[in-house]
């Protein structure tokens, strides 16, 4: 028997004061679930996580924002429908659309909120099989030029966690064609479409590349031992990417 622990501890990225200076906001709505995971992911990447509350009216000088997964307002009415009207969301939408192009990442419920807020096109409906599905999911990185994907290689396959009930991405054909033509499909499902999403789309970005939304969860794949296959850390690239963007490295 080998004496090596099978999983690592919460090893922090090398302390780099430039990284720690980056303030990444993580928004909590009533019913948000993956906020603590997103905070941990930010911390593991070396940046400083700033907790934001949906009712806040200021963005607390953050350099980027993550809208994490969960069931904000229970997913009642429609996933993301009620959260979209939160005071902080107005600020986030304005900042994302401003010249400063605040980087915004919407994960799962966060993606749903971003579409409800019209920061990203399309919408999510119930999975075609109508069930909640939790599994390790392979994604292809289709666009590695966004604020949240530049640490990946174009065409790279990554494994992160998929878990949702309303994950079927839909948009009209014109929108889908435009997304494809402009290269705004950020991620596609590999190894079988898990929910009926049009054109296997798992995540998209806006034209400026600062806003990215996806259904699967990179924040659950940042620490060996607690992610896909007991070892996966493919999700770290999201957080490293935004640091590259903020530090002007990419």
């Amino acid at each position: 028997m080998s004496e090596t622990p099978l999983i690592g501890g919460a090893t922090l990225a090398p302390v780099d004061s430039r990284l720690a200076g980056a303030r990444i906001g993580v928004v909590t709505f009533p019913g948000t679930l993956d906020d603590r995971d997103a905070v941990r992911a930010v911390r593991l990447s070396g940046a400083t996580a700033v907790e934001l509350w949906h009712a806040d009216t200021e963005l607390a000088d953050v350099d980027a924002v993550i809208i994490p997964g969960g069931f904000s307002y229970g997913d009642y009415l429609r996933a993301g429908a009620i959260s979209r009207f939160a005071p902080l969301m107005t600020k986030i939408v304005d900042a994302a659309n401003s010249d400063a192009k605040l980087p915004v990442l919407g994960i799962c419920n966060g993606f749903q909120i971003l579409t409800e807020a019209h920061l990203l096109p399309g919408s999510m409906i119930k999975n075609d099989h109508l069930k909640f599905l939790c599994r390790d999911q392979v994604l292809r990185v289709e666009n590695n030029t966004t604020a949240w994907t530049n640490a990946y290689a174009a065409g790279e396959d990554i494994t992160i966690v998929l878990k949702n009930q309303d994950g079927q991405y839909i948009a009209d054909e014109k929108t889908l064609d435009a997304l494809e033509a402009e290269g705004l499909v950020a991620f596609r499902y590999m190894g079988g479409n898990p929910n009926g999403s049009r054109r296997d789309i798992a995540g998209i970005s806006n034209a400026a590349g600062n806003v990215v939304g996806l259904m699967p969860h990179p924040e659950h794949a940042v620490e060996a031992g607690y992610g896909p296959g007991h070892t996966g850390t493919d999700g770290l690239g999201f957080f490293n990417s935004v640091l590259n963007t903020l530090l002007g490295d990419k």
């Binding site: 307002y73 229970g74 009642y76 009415l77 009620i82 009207f85």
Partner: protein
């Protein structure tokens, strides 16, 4: 093609979490006129051809047995809409 609309609502005495969340959110958007909200389901069943009495009876039965859960829901409406 004619359709039969079936409306299903949670029984009045049953908690409706969705309606509760909606009624809480409406005033924040300035919609202050509503004291309660209940959210139910609307089914549209398409019929190829004419809606006979027999087909309407099928719809009513489907509404009671499959489209609604009689333990917690009521069928509040079954009607034909032509268009």
């Amino acid at each position: 093609m004619p359709r039969i609309v079936v409306d299903v609502m949670l029984k009045p005495e049953i908690l409706d979490p969705q309606g509760k969340a909606i009624v809480g959110a409406l005033p924040r958007l300035g919609f202050t006129a509503f004291s309660a909200v209940r959210q139910g389901k609307r089914f549209e069943l398409t019929v190829d051809g004419e809606v006979t009495e027999e087909i309407l009876a099928q719809a009513r039965e489907a509404a009671e047995t499959m489209l609604s859960n009689p333990v917690i829901e009521d069928v509040v409406n079954v009607e034909v809409v032509a268009d």
